[in-house]
């Protein structure tokens, strides 16, 4: 039996990226389990999703705490759950350099744009406002700068002329739900190595075949 990688997910909102990990895990498409979910928002639907799947889920209240105190509370929970990988999946709070350093190489983020374009809280809206013809999403190791760490996978999609911000966001989200489980599986297989700004993906099983491709998406994930 394959050992399952123990994942924590940090989420502030709907938690659809979280759901994509849970689904991939339950379908045994990835050798990983979400063992705990943390949120900085009491009402985050991500917490409800976790509980629905009997995954421990914690609201860690940032109010009346310094950032360090807040992260200290998170770290305690992460350690209690023997977490091996932390996934920021729509987590809208910036982590401190000391938290990031502590988990460097075991902390990843997914961003709804082709980084380094459109960092920040509204990658989809900013792409639309800029007038790009192509956008996408990116998974990367988190470093001390926002949306900046070494890139793991990217996928590109077309921006359509009629797109509203929500149209674009939902098409990007569909691709996020593909590249996030792939990223986690590469990590679980021990195939990701950081060399400065580059992430080397070592050859391995034909894991890509497990994940059906979407049309009109360019997958940047070669090795």
């Amino acid at each position: 039996m394959v050992r399952e990688l123990r994942i924590a997910v940090l989420a502030s909102g709907q938690g659809t990226d979280l759901q994509s990990i849970i689904d991939a895990s339950e379908k045994q498409m990835i050798d990983a389990d979400v063992v705990v979910v943390l949120s900085d928002k009491k009402e985050a639907y991500a917490l409800k999703r976790a509980r629905h799947h009997t995954i421990p889920a914690f609201f860690v209240d940032p109010k009346h705490k310094t950032r360090e105190e807040h992260e200290h509370a998170m770290t305690r929970i992460l350690k209690e759950h023997n977490v091996e990988l932390i996934v920021e999946a729509g987590y809208m709070r910036l982590l401190t350099p000391s938290f990031v350093k502590q988990w460097y190489g075991e902390l990843i983020n997914i961003h709804p744009a082709l980084l380094p374009s459109f960092k920040g809280v509204d990658g989809q809206g900013d792409a639309l406002a800029y007038g790009v013809r192509i956008s996408g999403c990116t998974t990367h190791f988190t470093d001390e700068d926002m949306d900046h760490g070494p890139i793991i996978l990217q996928a590109a999609i077309k921006v359509k002329p009629q797109d509203t911000r929500d149209d674009l966001a939902s098409r990007i989200l569909a691709v996020e739900h593909q590249i996030l489980p792939r990223t986690i599986q590469l990590f679980a297989e021990g195939r990701l190595t950081i060399h400065g700004r580059s992430v080397l993906i070592s050859p391995g099983d034909s894991w890509l075949d497990k994940y059906p491709r979407l049309d009109d998406v360019l997958y940047g994930e070669g090795y």
Copy 2:
């Protein structure tokens, strides 16, 4: 008989983008002719290419001139040749705001990256150094800021793990040679309208069918 759009090309180097326009024109894939080529480099191979096709080609020496004087000399030649569209194709000199304003909407640039990522002189090397999995190229109307104006077409390609800067540059170049003639043809057909930062492409003939697609490229050119 279709009227041919009169194009000027500004180039500082090899002129392969220029060649892609000349080829498309000679094959009558675009309703446009290159009527004059200007360079700021005496030895630019672009000038040789132009002369080989009996296209008037001028070295406009920037030495001992202010930028305004240099551009004034260029403008005189452009006007003498009744130019309707100016294409910056590997032109490495920044144009002044007053030149850009004078030709706004009739001046386009091609850049070897998915703007707004990797502006500047080495879009390919910068993309590689950053560690992106996907890069590409962009055509856009030139405005007063470098590599910034409203985007016309983009195309995305994969960055491969073994890529040297030259490997990546040459794969991007192959796609540049596709989207540049397409961009010119859209302009020639009067199908491009600038709305703020967006370029609206109005529906028209199925011109795309004339241009064979490359594998593993995502074309951002919907209308």
